[in-house]
């Protein structure tokens, strides 16, 4: 049973359990088609990208509630600049990524420099960013319908970058957003396991005071964690806008909860100091498959919510027993 002691193994068992449900309730074989899996991967990618940033923050024993709102804000910015102002994507993408990172850094500053609780600081950012998204967009979806002064609409074409991001490659077998997620996961993985800052994140999450007294640059490390979380949220926001072909100020509503669920189901501890990107990937697959299975079987909304709640609790309980 030594195998079971590894958190990855536990997370995989939870995933396997969900897959077994899928094989059993395969919706007349729909579950066995690759397109089903491809679409699941596409759908979960945005959440999983958020999960990558969330993993960093949670490993430092923090939390970031603002990522959902940041998706909305960056989606609106991306659409506004690229569709309505018609700027080049080479200009727009860096600006939007910068905006997301800046929001993350603001939360990070509140938390590390001014010692606000992560929950409160990012809650404030969550509310603020949603407000900013609505203010910038005027409460309307920023789409290819451009409002003219006389109240009528001019319809423009969606920029090429949108089609590029929402496309699929490898003979239509994998979505670009999934590849973007894999890149994000790779970046987070390298940070956590190969870079000094990643080690510092684990140290801070494990014992912040001991880390500080060991000379770990606590403020800088937290800034990096929250800044990257904001950056990943901006990446997710761009993906979201590209897939919706518009910037919805309401986009990403309550996505932060799914992102947290993905991280926690994987087995990263909310108490900090333990976890990894591998776990988050498994967590994302677990949640993704769960939603997909419920969806292809056309399970009613009420049952879905109840089932999802039960499975989240069960998976986390299962993770917990490993300590004994």
């Amino acid at each position: 049973m030594k195998f079971l002691k590894k958190p990855e193994a536990r997370a995989l068992i939870a995933l396997a359990f969900v897959l077994i449900i899928g094989f059993t309730f395969n919706a007349d074989g729909a579950f066995f088609k690759w397109t089903t899996h491809r679409d699941m991967l596409r759908y979960i990618s945005v959440f999983a990208i958020l999960g990558c940033g969330m993993t960093l923050v949670i490993i430092t024993a923090g939390i970031d509630l603002s990522v959902g709102s940041l998706v909305g804000l960056t989606a609106v910015l991306f659409s506004l600049f690229s569709i309505q102002y018609g700027w080049s994507p080479w200009l727009v993408i860096p600006i939007v990524l910068l905006a997301g990172t800046a929001c993350g850094l603001i939360s990070g500053t509140l938390i590390s420099k001014w010692e606000m609780q992560p929950f409160i600081a990012t809650l404030a950012m969550m509310v603020f960013a949603r407000g900013a998204a609505k203010w910038i967009s005027g409460g309307q979806k920023v789409s290819t319908a451009v409002l003219q002064n006389d109240g009528s609409y001019k319809y423009v074409n969606v920029p090429e970058i949108y089609n590029f991001i929402s496309a699929k490659v490898l003979h239509n077998n994998i979505a670009i957003v999934t590849i973007i997620f894999i890149i994000c996961a790779g970046v987070a993985y390298i940070l956590l396991s190969k870079l000094r800052w990643g080690r510092y994140m684990f140290a801070i999450g494990g014992n912040e005071e001991a880390a500080r007294l060991s000379g770990v640059p606590v403020v800088m490390t937290k800034l990096i964690a929250y800044g990257l979380c904001g950056l990943f949220a901006a990446v997710a926001g761009i993906c979201q806008a590209a897939q919706e072909q518009q910037g919805d100020p309401e986009a990403g509503m309550s996505y932060e909860l799914t992102a947290i669920a993905i991280v926690v189901i994987g087995g990263t501890s909310l108490a900090g100091g333990r976890g990894g990107i591998g776990l988050t990937i498994i967590g994302a697959l677990t949640i993704g498959y769960l939603e997909k299975i419920l969806s292809i079987n056309a399970v009613g909304e009420a049952y879905r919510l109840m089932l999802t709640g039960v499975i989240i609790a069960a998976a986390v309980l299962f993770q917990k027993t490993r300590k004994k």
Partner: protein, 317 residues
Amino acid sequence: MKTKLFLLIAASLIILACGKKESKITTAQKVKPTVKQKIIGMSQCNLGEPWRVQMNEDIKLAAAKHPELKVIYKDAQNDSLKQVAQIEEFISAGVDAIIVSPKEAAPLTPVIKTAFEKGIPVVVLDRRVNGDKYTCFIGADNKKIGKAAGEWIVKKLGGNGNIVELKGLMTSTPGQDRHSGFRAGIKGSNLKIIFEADMKWLEPQARKEMESALARFKNIDLVYAHNDPGAHGAYLAAKAAGREKEMIFVGIDGLPQEGRMYVKQGILAASFEYPTGGKEAVDTVVDIFGGKKPEKEITLKSHVFTKDNVDKGGKWL
């Protein structure tokens, strides 16, 4: 500590300044109305939804045709009590008419009654209040629209076909009405609902559910979504699967920058308008100012927008 305090104060000042602007205008208008000018107070329950933003937009456009009208807009941000307070403000500021799109019936009934009894004409938009102490109610009927959509679909498909229904939030009245109306509309035909799912009015959700439907069913003829973004999400899913040509998509709401645009682009076969009533509300108020007594209840007619008629402003149902 000092920098913290400074930033805090600076931030609150900025926010205050932003908030102040609105009320400053109102006081200015209160103080010196020109002799001929008539002031209308408009209280919107929530500007978070594009449809309600459109309602305000429609009012603005209609009012622009009457230079003597001045409309003061208030957003209650989904808070009934806030909306009550706003109407109280209108009453004490002595506006000439009130247009209100209430959040809920019960909390707003008394204050609307007060305004009505003081002799201020009150036009209630979209959602009802209890009793009859208001001047006029203007609204559309989701059941009727759903039924019209159903009948249109029966005709379009010739009474045969497989249909996917992507429902709005089934705990909300519009969701329930657009569902039951639709079912009534297709009654007696051979249309089959092969897949139905709750997409909570959200486009990404609709796309996900549609992907599942596509994975399960080889033959889908039509997707009926309870709102246009839902229909658009379904279209994106079908397009991603390379199957968007096999089926047609129908949505509801018909907003210019959503449904009508999708129809124009050939994404949706039809979008059924859920009218905001903004124009009709202004027209009614103008009638009242002109001494006419309006009908107690005006049920708005809807347009259906299809590729051939969208540029001509749709066709009345």
